[in-house]
């Protein structure tokens, strides 16, 4: 097996930010991302996903620890204050 240790960054945020965050993430050097629609509750209240723009998205980025750090730093700086946002990382083995 040729598994490469990598970092997985998961971002849960407001669906309205999708296009903007795609630009940020790829601009910072991510080679890819995966987005899934969801709903949830956090410090910014409940977003039940009822309205077109009222749901959450869950973005996954697989990359180097440095890339994930850069993305986290940027999102904390610009978006954390005004938008619902949760970010966490975990280490994974990339298998291909």
């Amino acid at each position: 097996m040729t598994a490469k240790p990598m970092t997985l960054l998961v971002i849960v945020t407001e669906a309205v930010l999708e296009d903007i965050l795609i630009d940020e993430i790829t601009g910072l050097g991510a080679h890819g991302y995966t987005i899934i629609d969801g709903r949830g509750r956090g410090t910014h209240g409940t977003r039940a996903g009822r309205w077109t723009q009222g749901g959450n998205i869950r973005i996954e980025v697989v990359g180097s620890a440095q890339l994930c750090e850069r993305i986290v730093a940027r999102l904390k700086e610009v978006y954390e204050h005004n938008y619902g946002l949760l970010m966490y990382t975990t280490s994974i083995e990339l298998q291909n």
């Binding site: 407001e14 309205v16 309205w51 077109t52």
Partner: protein, 314 residues
């Protein structure tokens, strides 16, 4: 006072929401219904517009735009200084009330059809025109002297956002194809219109219910604002409509446009352009107070006002 059965579906939705029923209109269906409504309204306007000399619209359009821009400009200081709200919240709410609601307009159209009162087809042009400027004004009020605005993104969002695009696109298609060319589409876009509006109002009721629940958090000031500003805007619209020589139906629809508050285009635009604003406040006021007020109380009043001013003038 005139009674329009379609609002009963809104009541049913509110009821379902208040008793916490598991009734849900799936998001994709909601999207489809709104695409339908916007296209259908546009087509209806386009067909009527085709029989009209367009140049005659320039002067009334300017007048209507000018008066429409006053709504957010007057609302802002009221919210900021009377209501002691933050700059961002004041600007965002002002933008919501300066912009317009397509569904409120549709209920107005529906009442006119019920009462067999005609209206000028070009009213839909004003609907399109009025949706935008308030959003731009709102952003300017929020950012005045502070930070940079991504104007390009904002203009793009407003002009090519789906509501303007479908309204204007329908308008153009209806205009180009004309009543004859649109005929095979009549049954979908015209005959089904009211039934689909009913389903849409059901969903609106469900959402409004969740907003109504949060009303006490917004306080008395915002609730009063959400009733008084539409009423005053409607009075201004009635006078302007009458002064411009619009028919009873057209005058009533102009009053309705001014009185209505946006809850689709404005929230999306403000969330991006004025992120410091609390969306619960602006959507709560426009959807939890103003929309039901207009549907149940406002529109019949605006109809009465329009008939009154026209009977005076006569």
């Amino acid at each position: 006072m005139q009674f329009e059965p379609v609002v009963l579906f809104f009541l049913l939705g509110i009821f379902a929401g208040l008793v916490r029923s598991d009734l849900k209109i799936p998001g994709s269906i909601y999207d489809a219904l709104s695409i339908f409504l916007l296209l259908a309204i546009g087509l209806q306007g386009g067909v009527k517009l085709a029989e009209f000399p367009l140049v005659e619209l320039i002067v009334p359009s300017l007048a209507i735009l000018l008066l429409g821009s006053l709504i957010p400009l007057v609302s802002f200081p009221v919210l900021r200084y009377l209501g002691r709200m933050t700059r961002a919240d004041s600007a965002s709410i002002a933008a919501h009330y300066g912009s317009v609601s397509v569904v409120t307009f549709s209920v107005g159209v529906s009442l006119l059809a019920q009462e067999e009162v005609d209206f000028e087809g070009f009213m839909i042009v004003f609907l399109v025109l009025l949706e935008m400027p308030a959003l731009v004004i709102g952003v300017m009020l929020a950012r005045y002297g502070a930070g940079t605005v991504r104007w390009g993104k904002l203009f793009h969002e407003v002009f090519f956002g789906k509501s303007i695009l479908l309204l204007a696109g329908g308008l153009v298609i209806g205009f180009v194809a004309g009543a004859e060319g649109i005929k095979p589409l009549d049954i979908l876009f015209f005959d089904l219109f009211k039934g689909i509006l009913a389903l849409f109002l059901l969903e609106m009721g469900l959402v409004a219910a969740s907003r109504i629940a949060g009303l006490r958090d917004y306080g008395l000031f915002l609730t009063s604002f959400a009733i008084i500003v539409p009423l005053l805007s409607a009075v201004a619209g009635t006078i302007l409509g009458w002064a411009l020589g619009l028919s009873v139906g057209g005058t009533m629809l102009l009053a309705t446009l001014y009185a209505s508050a946006s809850y689709i285009a404005a929230p999306a635009a403000m969330r991006i352009a004025v992120p410091q604003a609390n969306p619960a406040l602006s959507i709560g006021a426009s959807l939890g107070v103003t929309f039901p007020f207009n549907i149940f109380v406002g529109i019949p009043i605006y109809f009465w006002m329009s008939k009154f001013i026209h009977s005076m003038g006569a």
